[in-house]
């Protein structure tokens, strides 16, 4: 990854080549500076799992992880992510195996229309890495930047609890083994 400072020239810098690691894979493209990260992911890279919801920094459907931290990709330019690592919903499953959060959403029916789901799952995965055994209140606080219009959040909370249990019992099993 070339994250070296590019020389400041007198040429207008309205296009740029960016390089970033998306879901573990190096990606590179020449793009307009005004291209939002969400459009870079969806249109330049074809990763349409990241959704454009409100497009006004309110709904969280476009949430991705930048260097592990959840951010709203409609409120960041792709050039800002140059040299950095991005994880989208396509990067949650590893080696064909669903992430515990994905399993949780499946088992507990944590979605109906599925539009908010990518953002909900990425925020939940980040939460469980910081706090493997969150209370219901902590889960609701963590997902408070993500809007769901179908479920009333009940099953989303259950899905995250399911994932927390699964992750912990998995780790316990590993420890015993």
């Amino acid at each position: 990854m070339n994250e070296q400072a590019r020389p400041v020239s007198d040429e207008p810098q309205m296009r740029r080549r960016v390089e970033m690691v998306v879901n573990g894979r190096p990606r590179s493209a020449e793009i307009e500076t005004r291209l939002l990260l969400v459009h870079f992911l969806r249109e330049t890279l074809g990763l349409t799992g990241t959704h454009v919801g409100c497009d006004t920094t309110s709904c969280g459907a476009c949430t991705v992880r930048l260097q592990g931290t959840p951010i709203k990709s409609c409120t960041m330019f792709a050039v800002q992510a140059d040299g950095l690592e991005v994880t989208t919903v396509e990067g949650l499953a590893q080696g064909g195996k669903l992430h515990p959060v994905q399993e949780g959403f499946k088992e507990e029916h944590g979605l109906q229309c599925g539009f908010c789901t990518p953002g909900m799952m990425l925020v939940s995965a980040a939460l469980l890495e910081e706090n493997p055994n969150p209370t219901e209140a902590e889960i609701r606080f963590a997902i408070s930047g993500n809007i769901c219009r179908c479920t009333g959040y009940q099953n989303i909370v259950k899905a995250v609890q399911w994932a927390a249990q699964k992750t912990q019992s998995g780790q316990a099993a590993t420890t015993v083994a």
């Binding site: 400072a5 590019r6 400041v8 207008p12 810098q13 309205m14 740029r16 307009e32 500076t33 005004r34 939002l36 497009d55 006004t56 920094t57 309110s58 969280g60 949430t63 931290t69 959840p70 951010i71 709203k72 409120t75 960041m76 330019f77 050039v79 800002q80 140059d82 925020v123 606080f141 963590a142 408070s144 930047g145 993500n146």
Partner: protein, 289 residues
């Protein structure tokens, strides 16, 4: 929504950022968290010719205590404030405000200094900084100058910052012993702007108020100090009568406008209720501090 075209720079040093800003003048905009600026650019309320991204400059993300005072660098995210034990223990108004600002994902990115520079009268950090008497440090081609936060806010979305200046940090003075504060915010839902917010800071001396800071969000053309309420409390004993009196004076300092979030009368009433509640909370914490 697509913003207008712009030139993008990601300088590695503050000197480089300042020279770019000098070159572009008021056609250049400084980008930190971008959680206010980028939405404005998408709506084309802002269309800078050049965007100068501070995020690659080292050393601007310091949240540190310096001889009892608190320094918040230009790249300190609101999330860092939310997690800070130092803020919770010694700068309580800040610590209480942080988790109430916007939503958790925006807090991961949005900065304290960026919020102040944006100078939105509905911004929460502005009131907190007025209550605690913060100072803004601005670096320009001519050197560094310090501006009190009261002088900094000039009008809605207007600050005392010159086009060639960058705010490098905001400094909160040492609150001293027996001091605490809080922030109360009424919002319709997470992520919405405040209907009303009240920041309170108190320091006590022998049971009397040494200094009181009270500032209001979303009820005036800028974040605004409730100066008469602060003056009435200074030197006074904190009791039901002085607290109620200060809350009434704070409500009088509000100039709210009726809108979809509530009527002017309602908002003024909330200022009174929140000021009273905030003073009681801060007093209890300051006595225990």
């Amino acid at each position: 929504m697509y913003p207008a075209k712009f030139e993008y720079f990601a300088p590695r040093t503050l000197a480089e950022a300042l020279s770019l800003l000098e070159k572009y003048g008021d056609e250049g905009k400084v980008l930190a968290g971008g959680q206010s600026l980028i939405p404005l650019m998408k709506l084309r309320f802002a269309a800078p010719r050049a965007l100068i991204d501070l995020n690659r400059i080292e050393g601007l993300d310091q949240l540190v205590e310096e001889a009892g005072a608190l320094r918040i660098g230009a790249l300190v995210r609101t999330k860092a404030c939310e997690l800070s034990q130092l803020l919770h223990d010694r700068f309580r108004a800040l610590g209480d405000a942080a988790p109430q600002i916007s939503d958790p994902i925006v807090r991961n990115r949005g900065t304290v200094v960026g919020s102040l520079v944006h100078a939105d009268p509905q911004g929460d950090w502005g009131s907190v900084m007025l209550a605690v008497g913060a100072r803004v440090e601005a670096r320009g081609s001519g050197g560094t100058r310090t501006v009190t936060i009261e002088q900094f806010f000039q009008g809605p979305f207007a600050s005392a910052l010159q086009p060639d200046e960058i705010v490098t940090s905001v400094v909160v003075p040492d609150p001293g012993p027996r001091a605490s504060g809080t922030y109360l915010k009424l919002e319709r839902k997470v992520g919405d702007f405040a209907t009303v917010g009240v920041a309170v800071h108190l320091s006590l001396d022998n049971g009397r108020v040494r200094r009181a800071g009270i500032a209001l969000t979303a009820v005036a053309p800028t974040n605004v100090k409730a100066t008469k309420a602060e003056e009435a409390l200074a030197g006074a004993e904190l009791n039901d009568s002085s607290i109620r009196n200060a809350a009434e004076l704070a409500a009088q300092a509000a100039e709210p406008r009726s809108d979809l979030r509530g009527s002017a009368d309602y908002k003024r009433h909330i200022v009174q209720v929140f000021t009273e509640r905030g003073l009681r909370t801060a007093a209890e914490a300051a006595r225990a501090a």
